[in-house]
Amino acid sequence: MLSSIHTRARPSTAAALAAAVLLVALGLVIVGCGSDKRQVKLMYAGSLIVPFEQLAAEFERSHPDVDVLTESHGSIQVLRHVTELGDRFDLAVSADEQLIPPLMYDRVDHETGEPYASWYCTFATNRMVLAISPKSPLAGELDARTWYRRLTQPDVRFGLADPRFDAAGYRALMLLQLAEREYDDPYLFEDMMMGRFTTPVTVTRNAGGVDVIEVPEILETQSGGNLVLRGASIQLVALLESGDLDCAFEYESVARQHGLEYVRLPSSIDLGEAGRRADYRRVEVKLDFRRFASVKPVFRGDVIRYAFTIPANAPEPGLAGELAAFLLGDDGRRILEEDHQPVLTPPRLDNASAAPEEVRRACGGSR
């Protein structure tokens, strides 16, 4: 038997083929190196992927000489990419406005000696829901009164975003703790979290004060614990669609964008009602970073507010301003609303005097 290593082609044919392939490869490299479009780099929280990809496409259509490069991660990751990984983006969008001051105002860019950002613009809101997989037997079974008891049962696999990397993660933990008051079940949090992690997530209740949830630095799910953790909440959607999750804590906009059935939770816990701020502020999440950060991040429960900023080291601040104005203008608002992302009208600026002119104008003048 002839071994397959003995080629049947004649040497000269093989050589010609190899030469042709090499030439094509070289050609592609040369062609790829030339691009005269201006680029604006957009880094945003994963839950915005549907509206923001549409936003990028429409911006490119109305600005044919511009390429919008997009990347998405969990909200904490989004900002850390700028401040710790040294990535340079024109627009950074977070699902939690309260992340920007500690992660960007208080961090100084070594190259410039300036903070990475000194203003932000709040433009959208959301609420947390319990999204259900279309393939799960739970579809139709869960409701706003009984979901939490069902979730503690061993046959239910639910998903959570990693609270260390994604705002949706710590928001889900806050939700669970707030649920104790709502459903008058003082053990709800523990019942839900018991046996799920190798190093447990704990809660310290301060009667009359703020309950503190502590997340260990190394957060690993226990095998067989029936809890699935993902770095960004949007990654749970694929698992819901494939049926590998029964349900997951998601933003309402995301559940609606993907046509997922969901349980609408009481507004005292879903972090979506402006009037309920006082309730939400009764819980906070502390990330117990020991080895890798000198600061232990603390997040206080609050209404969900999406915000963006143009980092001080943005490569194309002019284009960034145009994109921001596009987002805050009629087109952006239309796209967000079409995709079930509730818009904040008017958008609000933090430290408006530091914001560029176009953004201030789009927010309706100063303040």
Partner: protein
């Protein structure tokens, strides 16, 4: 007899080789140096890194063992027999190499996930491939089996069939001929294919991360640390697995390296 031109040729080969070696050594060395001995020692003391290293190495070993049991017979068949569709089969065996890793993970999820054809079949027995070690083994097996099968096939092909025929005329069964004549001559090549497969398995990320993000293999842990905690946190686990793999490869090569003239040619 060597004239001037042949030595220029060899010099050119050496230069090209040196460039390639430098290309590989530079990033590896910069990572190892960047991590530093202190950081590495510290990393070994970290529970999650140790567990991940062990998980990664052992899952890849299990995958390799499975591929060995199922793949060696196939490799032998492909080396010895001609049949309709043989070229297609060989192409299919190589398919996992061209599959983008995340696509492979998704493909495996649709079959072995909770709602997949096989996933649903095995669920009543308590077997799950998502978020489990079984899923990790499955992903590693899928992406790296071509390395074992292809290498084994080439090795078997190099063993002279005549020896098997002789064994048969002396009364051996085909299986016996394989075990007592072919395999003893081919085992080094097959084992080197297994080592290659193991190495490919421990480095897999895309397919594993889709099926089983947890428990974390070293590539997923490194990625998570990089994303979550920055470069300094990501270097130790990455460097450790590179060192472990390098040591394994070195040992395997020195043990398995066929001495000239043995096991590859007909030594009458």
């Amino acid at each position: 007899m060597r004239g001037r031109r042949p030595s220029l040729f060899w010099a050119a080969c050496a230069v090209a080789g040196a460039i390639l070696i430098a290309f590989v050594v530079l990033p590896a060395a910069s990572m190892i140096v960047g991590a530093g001995a202190g950081l590495l020692g510290e990393a070994l003391r970290q529970d999650d890194i140790r567990r991940s290293l062990w998980l990664t190495a052992s899952a890849a070993l299990i995958a390799t063992a499975i591929a060995f049991v199922v793949g060696v017979p196939l490799a032998y068949l492909l080396a010895r027999r001609d049949f309709v569709g043989k070229r297609a089969i060989e192409g299919i065996i190589d398919l996992p190499i061209v599959f983008p890793h995340t696509a492979a993970g998704i493909a495996l999820l649709t079959v072995y996930g909770r709602e997949g054809v096989i996933g649903r079949l095995l669920a009543p027995f308590g077997i799950s491939f998502t978020e489990t070690v079984a899923g990790i083994v499955l992903a590693m097996l899928f992406v790296s089996l071509p390395f074992l099968v292809d290498t084994a096939r080439e090795t078997f092909a190099l063993v002279d069939e005549r020896y098997e025929h002789v064994a048969r005329t002396l009364g051996s069964s085909p299986g016996g001929a394989f075990l007592r004549v072919t395999f003893p001559q081919a085992w080094r090549g097959v084992l080197s294919g297994a080592v290659l497969m193991w190495g490919r398995g421990i480095s897999e990320f895309g397919a594993v991360v889709i099926l089983a993000y947890n428990p974390k293999v070293i590539s997923v842990l490194t990625f998570e640390r990089f994303e979550g905690f920055g470069l300094r946190a990501a270097q130790p686990p990455a460097v450790l697995i590179v060192i472990v793999a390098f040591v394994v490869f070195l040992v395997a090569r020195t043990v398995l390296l066929p001495r000239r003239g043995r096991s590859r040619k007909d030594a009458a």
